[in-house]
Symmetry: C2
Subunit: 548 residues, 2 copies
């Protein structure tokens, strides 16, 4: 057939490129490969989901597209790439008790009690999202305070940042926790005045309870992935870097891909080297499902988080002078894990929040670049508190700081309390990192924060929170420009995942992933940007989410 | 483009069916869906690897096929479906020491010593394929006898049937085996006269040593799968039921599929329900990679094997009157596992060799068909020794006996020794099972036996071994016909894996999987059939193996 028709085709068609779909009359924005804004009025897509051409107002339209839609002048921009999130966490959050909007301990107690009444058959009550900083409590809550709400079955509630868990007495009994229980290295069991476990478990101590939680069923995992995709697509996220993919997560992604139910793109970073080897075998996976899934690398942890004082600092915490946080790995352990990944071509992404953790990681990278040269794109996840003397080291090795602009606004007061006034010069230091030659990629850390990228874009170029505080921005010298904020959530995120050849920008040959929104982020005020509504989300040249 | 060209296509082409490839001038044989032989002279295939049409000598040929090949009168038959094998085992066998051709203990010792000399850097010496029945030893070998060959590093050699392992003293020391070690239920540690472990570990005792073997690297797994495919395709096997797929096996299959290196079809049965859930999640996988891979169900074990006296018998072993073999599971355990699989739509395949194990399984199926009605295709793997009173029970529930014809000829003398002369009426009872309404599917159990299906076809319709013994066949009433032998290795194997809608026969719409061979198995003598050479193996309408 090919032999027969090809000469005919040449006669019939003016060009061999086939114009399969056209979205016209849009306020189109993209960033080009040099970081410049490009505006356009129409977008032509191929039938296999790629961009064929950007059209100016005066350009000739394809004569007979298979499909044509009128953008009605709305703003069209590349789909958001969230460089750091937890896909299954987003989904499970929809399936478990959400405490992220609670404003007092009493409100938590009431919400837990009501949930138990509504779900009388649940053996375990599982929830997440609490933040004692919002309750004016000045301390962690206790098991006894949770027992007051539910005493007859175990309860386990994880903190908003995922770095602490709160158990009731039934859960501690079920897990065999007693005054003699010892926290493993990198973890802490909070104690009452009498030395008994108070109910809160930090970082590496969390598995003492979590190991006995019932595992989700595969059906529940599949449902969670459906929910996660709906949520993420509704915020315009077409690609997410999944930081800490477990084997079960990966199998869930593949089931969705195999069944044609994977509607967005996941750049997967395995949770540790064991999962990395089980999932990827001898190296990263190929691009799967028309570039919707790829195991890119591994996610490692070098410390905890600031909120729970798990972040590893060079000097003691300002608000707890006997603590310096927790280093999870020795220098040798960290290098061995990174080396194990790098030797097989996996990209390495390491969670490092405190300045000591960042320094340890920068030392490790300095050494590893000797053994593993070439384009490695070492990633630091969060990179929140860096000693100013260490900041220039990111640029030297082309390191990517994968940062979450909203963390800066959420954490500001807490960071000031934890670090005091004199150790903030390298905190959330976006512009300094760029100026020193480092790379950035922006994300949300969802479900730790809302996945909404427009809050992140506004925070990135203002360093003001949703209320506009502090006016003029917190350490405003580290703001990025609007264009850089957009790039951080699109083209830079693609680069950070070795996907800049196919994702993050709209130009011929790239995947046609884009969103239609009700604001022009280059023109709108920060408040308007925060209120941006995604109207349609397109992946691979097809609409996959539409606002009702 | 579609809109534009379709009217033109209608004018140009005589029919909308496209003749993409033609293999002509063959002695074509297939079995139709009613089990009748169909002969043909040419085969037309579509570009997506399916059969378009079978051609008689007088039929008009497609005028302009994209591809045309002359079969030169050779015999073409459907690709072999091996209903029971171990894909990764076939591959690893190529990578480890092979002892299957050894004829004496001294020969084993010499071969092991030579292998160590050739592989001085291997920490562990791993081999397989020994069979003390071939050595005239009258007993199992000992660790001391292996120490005589290699004492300075651990050695672990598995028996030909995979149901026993033989360690040297270094391996037992490394595994912490002492006179106090206790075999788990379903296993046995062979002892010396003084009560010390003698070096041989039966069935469930094998993991006592195997748990400390170094795991193969992903690269070694990938290489093993390449080797396995080469071996199986060279014997004309285009589809194999992989009995006992582990998670690592599955990930290896998927890596090959993702990379376009899966050249044959694997019907996967997970090794146990934990692997089943991890691989399949809430149910069987879809067909993947153009029908090259599917998780169909689960493989369970209810007993061991005859050779190691692990098969579970109703009466004691004739040659060891204090033993009745090993039942691996209680009735309740077996039913629970089968139920767990069946409730989520996984097919259940249970290894049962002894008459007691088969009776236990038939009882379980009798009960389970109440809870899980419909087309379940319960499979008994091996089904070697069935009490004649139980044989009619297979037909009642449409059970599939998945049997290996060559086992009958290999095991004949051993089975007579194990069971004595009066308990053989239900041994390898192929024709009786068919006559009672049961179903058969034939396989090789490779690497336990050679994967060569032609040895199996000859054994199936003669019940004579390669030397033609016993003349006229062993219990010849249980021979099948030639046509049934062919069906057993093609269409019945497809049915046994819920694949009869796409595999096992050559007719329009089925996958174009076939082989070109140098004998006509419907005309040749048994000796000629055993000598059959596969010349080419085609999968999905493409040649994937050619004899050099």
């Amino acid at each position: 057939m090919k032999r027969l028709l090809l000469p005919l085709l040449a006669l019939i068609l003016p060009t061999p490129a086939l114009a399969d779909a056209l979205i016209d009359n849009v306020n189109g924005i993209t960033i080009d490969k040099d970081g410049r804004i490009v505006r356009f009025n129409g977008l032509v897509m191929t039938s296999d989901g790629k961009v064929a051409k950007l059209l100016d107002r005066k350009d000739k339209r394809p004569e007979r597209p298979d499909f044509k839609t009128d953008g009605k002048g709305r703003t069209l921009m590349p789909g958001i790439i969230d460089a750091h999130g937890h896909v299954m966490g987003v989904g499970f959050q929809e399936l478990i008790l959400d405490l992220s909007d609670t404003r007092s301990l009493a409100e938590v107690q009431a919400k837990v009690a009501a949930y138990v009444q509504a779900n009388p058959n649940r053996r375990w009550i599982i929830g997440r999202g609490w933040n004692q900083e919002n309750w004016g409590l000045g301390r962690f809550p206790t098991a006894a305070e949770l027992d007051a709400a539910v005493a007859d079955r175990p309860v386990w509630l994880t903190r908003i940042d995922g770095h602490a868990g709160w158990a009731n007495s039934a859960a501690m009994t079920a897990a065999g926790i007693t005054a003699k229980s010892i926290a493993p290295t990198g973890g802490k069991i909070e104690k009452t005045a009498t030395g008994a476990p108070s109910g809160v478990f930090i970082d590496a101590a969390m598995p003492l309870v979590e190991k006995i939680l019932p595992e989700p069923l595969p059906r529940e995992r599949d449902l969670a992935l459906v929910k996660a995709q709906q949520t993420l697509l509704s915020y315009g996220i077409t690609t997410i870097a999944d930081m800490g993919t477990t084997l079960d997560d990966w199998m869930t992604f593949r089931r969705a891909g195999d069944a044609g139910r994977l509607n967005m793109r996941i750049l997967s970073y395995a949770g540790g080297v064991d999962a990395m080897v089980q999932i990827g075998g001898p190296g990263p996976s190929p691009w799967l499902y028309e570039d919707r899934l790829k195991l890119v690398g591994v996610k490692l942890y070098s410390d905890g988080a600031l909120g729970s004082r798990g972040a590893w600092l060079k000097q003691p915490y300002h608000d707890s002078p006997r603590e310096r946080g927790l280093g999870f790995l020795t220098d040798a352990q960290l290098r061995n894990l990174m080396s194990r990944a790098a030797m097989d071509g996996f990209q390495v992404a390491v969670h490092a929040i405190g300045d000591q953790a960042n320094a340890q990681l920068l030392d490790a990278i300095d050494e590893l670049v000797q053994s593993y040269p070439g384009d490695r794109r070492w990633r630091i996840e969060h990179a929140q508190i860096i000693d100013p003397v260490d900041l220039p080291r990111l640029g030297r090795n082309g390191i990517i700081a994968s940062m979450q602009p909203v963390h800066q606004t959420s954490d500001r007061l807490m960071a000031e309390a934890r670090l005091g006034p004199n150790r903030l010069a390298g905190a959330y230091a976006w512009q300094t990192i760029l100026k020193d030659g480092g790379k950035l990629a922006f994300g949300s850390d969802t479900p730790v924060e809302s996945p909404d990228p427009f809050a992140g874009i506004a925070a990135a170029f203002t360093r003001e929170d949703a209320k506009g505080e502090p006016f003029g921005g917190w350490r405003p010298e580290d703001r990025v420009s609007r264009e850089q904020a957009l790039a951080g959530f699109t083209s830079w995120g693609a680069y950070a995942g070795f996907a800049e050849d196919r994702l993050g920008r709209l130009e011929p040959g790239m995947r046609a992933d884009f969103i239609l929104i009700d604001q022009d982020p280059l023109m709108a005020t920060p408040q308007e940007i925060r209120a941006t509504k995604v109207l349609e989300t397109w992946v691979n040249g097809r609409p996959v989410w539409t606002r009702k």
